[in-house]
């Protein structure tokens, strides 16, 4: 069976990025230097405006919006007829307290608001305090192998592509199966968020003029649909590691204060990121650091495959409930 139509969401850092809601296609094309492939197959789908704005951050509490900033995003979403999704990271007790105003504001909005949790304590907190707010399980909670070295170079990549023993034994995303998904349902969670794994690149399909839809998209959509959950897939970056120690925010600080969890931060990651020069040129996926988070950039064929799957609507398989695929574009969230 085919699911309901796919939709696109855009992750914004500021309300000044409002043009992204309709211009993300050009942004994506510039990022990859893509030309015909996207337009020929997916142009009509990409021409749609985003129906949801992602705000906040999955990795750092200092990048959560203030209530004033959140009000600006709510205004923007209202004007655009879009919903709001707040991304949240793992949180200390101090963080839970410090951002209570933000949670209060969003939970009382008349707009379609949802919150992505990446902390099980925060899931419980939200269920107790704001039981009516739709929740989505964040991609940090997925436990699959995301090491960019897994598919990066050498014979291992080829063996994985060939479907050998390594491919069969690849760790799956923890949000793809198991009693954990059942537990999410018991908590009333409606959606799961995830990336394509760095090694999840479908083989080029002969005669189709481009990459095949990643098998992982279909598999993930099926797994989510089987328990009645919706699926969000992020692009063009997959995260692979993070931490509370942040090198970017350590620049210029006294040595003794550099490598500690921050109590406050000037957020230099808003205007700088780091790319590894030797990656993305035949040595595995391009690697980008932004603040305390590390990402691999999808290959062009992964992106085209993902867009193809979205344009077609993911097959969820027999027995699967209705599921719409939401693509979350993060090209504006990382300054490159």
């Amino acid at each position: 069976m085919r699911s309901s139509p796919s939709r696109v969401a855009i992750h914004l850092r500021t309300t000044d990025q409002r043009s992204a809601l309709s211009a993300y296609r050009e942004h994506l094309r510039d990022l990859y230097g893509l030309s015909g492939a996207i337009d020929e197959e997916c142009g009509a789908w990409l021409a749609r405006s985003a129906t949801r704005i992602y705000i906040g951050d999955e990795f750092c509490p200092h990048r959560l919006p203030t209530t004033a900033e959140a009000e600006g995003f709510l205004d923007l979403a209202g004007e655009a007829g879009a919903g709001i999704t707040l991304l949240t990271p793992f949180l200390t007790d101090h963080d839970l307290e410090a951002h209570r105003g933000l949670f209060e504001l969003l939970s009382s909005s008349s707009l379609p608001v949802e919150i992505v949790f990446n902390d099980l304590g925060f899931l419980c907190f939200m269920r107790e305090r704001y039981p009516s707010v739709p929740l989505s399980a964040g991609r940090l909670l997925g436990s699959g192998l995301k090491d960019p070295r897994a598919a990066g170079w050498g014979a291992g990549r080829q063996r994985i592509r060939d479907g050998g023993a390594e491919a069969q034994a690849l760790p799956e995303c923890g949000l793809a199966h198991g009693p954990w998904l059942d537990m999410l349902k018991e908590f009333g969670v409606r959606r799961v968020e995830r990336d394509l794994l760095s090694c999840e690149e479908g083989p080029a399909s002969a005669g189709s003029g481009g990459a095949a839809a990643p098998a992982a998209v279909t598999a993930a959509a099926r797994a989510a649909a089987a328990v009645g959950l919706e699926l969000s897939l992020y692009f063009p970056y997959g995260y692979f590691t993070t931490g509370r120690v942040c090198w970017t925010s350590s620049f210029g600080r006294p040595d003794r204060e550099k490598f500690l969890p921050r109590q406050e931060c000037a957020k230099p990651c808003d205007t700088v990121s780091f790319a590894r020069r030797d990656q993305g040129r035949g040595k595995g996926p391009r690697i980008v650091h932004q603040g305390n988070a590390f990402f691999y950039m999808y290959s062009a064929s992964q992106v085209v495959g993902l867009l193809r799957a979205a344009a077609a609507g993911p097959a969820t398989g027999q027995g699967g409930g209705p599921s719409s695929l939401r693509l979350v574009y993060q090209g504006y969230a990382i300054p490159l």
């Binding site: 793992f90 949180l91 200390t92 007790d93 101090h94 963080d95 839970l96 990446n118 902390d119 099980l120 304590g121 925060f122 899931l123 419980c124 907190f125 940090l140 699959g144 192998l145 995301k146 090491d147 070295r149 390594e166 069969q168 034994a169 690849l170 760790p171 923890g174 199966h177 198991g178 009693p179 954990w180 537990m183 692979f240 590691t241 993070t242 931490g243 509370r244 120690v245 090198w247 350590s250 620049f251 210029g252 040595d255 003794r256 550099k258 490598f259 500690l260 969890p261 109590q263 205007t271 700088v272 990121s273 780091f274 590894r276 020069r277 030797d278 990656q279 650091h289 300054p335 490159l336």
Partner: protein, 341 residues
């Protein structure tokens, strides 16, 4: 204060051989933890992935009889043995095997408990072993607990102890322990083996060429509107980061003049941990040498004994610095677990 506070802080020590078990038990370890990777695991992992966070070739028991003898010796001294099954992810289809393995470890081998991270495994173990009342399950720091609501959640699943992240401020630990539900204990890192990233959310595998964080940091190119400003400071800041990583890697796996191990530690804060009700302090390094394990335990035991005797916070911190005898390393601030107030 946690339920375990009145019993005092336990010293949790790593073991991977019978010889080490004898030494650790005679030197005062209160609990042992180990890894166990049986040969048949290869069939479930294509020989690529590990049962726990560490490489089985250098860190685990691989022979059942050695594990059994270690458990027997520990139980002679009423010391419990916990087995780590805390890989950050597992191969597709491995879960049923792991649940069977865990059941065998508890029911047949008489291990006292398990250290687990994967939520699917925790939930499955609860279904399989929960009713027996025999399996004590501790949440690995890879499980990710940073607030008291998480502690409540894991407590509701029947877990007895939570091992906290390496990267918490001391005030965060104090508050978490204070606000957590009664009956759940907390363990903190005492000594050795830092980690740059947050293990609970780090999705790289050390099996793919070692720790990613200890790799090459020289090929970085600042991007974005303020790239130029960062470029000007890049070399100095990169050198500082690499120095920090050297400290995290046990100061290049070095020892000080008296044979005590260099590397990350939280010894100075043991008085605070005691007063807050922290249940246990963990010595890291299952793959470490016999000598490093012994010296690590001696160092930690000396400070725990002071804490148990009621020494004050400053006295404990002074003793820790004195025993370490590496003021130049301590003063860097790069060697402290839980360095932020």
């Amino acid at each position: 204060m946690s339920a375990c506070a009145s019993q005092g802080m336990k010293i949790v020590a790593p073991v991977r051989s019978v010889d080490e078990a004898e030494m650790l038990l005679s030197c005062g370890a209160d609990e042992l933890y180990c890894g166990y990777t049986p040969e048949e695991w290869r069939a479930h992992s294509a020989g690529l992935w590990w049962v726990n966070r560490r490489d089985p070739r250098s860190s685990d028991f691989t022979r059942r009889e050695h594990l059994l003898e270690t458990i027997r010796l520990a139980h002679e001294g009423t010391v419990p043995v916990y087995v780590t099954v805390n890989a950050p992810f597992y191969p597709a289809g491995a879960l049923p095997y792991l649940v069977d393995l865990c059941e065998r470890l508890i029911q047949e081998y008489q291990a006292d408990g398990l250290i687990v991270a994967d939520l699917d495994l925790i939930l499955s173990l609860g279904r399989r072993l929960g009713s027996t009342g025999k399996a004590r399950i501790h949440l690995s720091n890879l499980g990710g607990c940073y607030n008291h609501k998480s502690a409540e959640f894991f407590s509701s699943l029947g877990l007895e102890r939570i091992i906290l992240s390496r990267h918490m401020r001391r005030s965060e630990i104090e508050r978490l322990v204070r606000e957590a539900p009664p009956g759940i204990g907390f363990e903190v890192f005492a000594l050795n083996d830092g980690c740059y990233f947050e293990e609970a959310y780090c999705r790289v595998s050390h099996s793919l060429g070692g720790p990613f964080c200890l790799g090459d940091w020289t090929n970085l190119e600042p991007c974005g509107p303020h790239a130029a400003a960062f470029s000007a400071r890049l070399e100095r800041e990169r050198a500082c980061l690499e120095r920090y990583l050297w400290y995290q890697n046990n100061c290049g796996s070095s020892f000080q003049g008296h044979g005590l191990p260099n590397g990350p530690c939280s010894l100075c804060w043991f008085g605070f941990f005691r007063d807050w009700g922290v249940s246990a302090v963990k010595i890291v390094g299952r793959e470490a040498s016999f000598h490093r394990k012994m010296a690590s335990l001696q160092l930690v035991k000396a400070i725990v004994d002071l804490a148990r005797a009621g020494a004050g916070h400053e006295e404990i911190a002074e003793a820790a610095r004195s025993f370490r005898a590496t003021p130049e390393l301590c003063d860097s601030g790069f060697m402290c677990y839980y360095g932020g107030a």
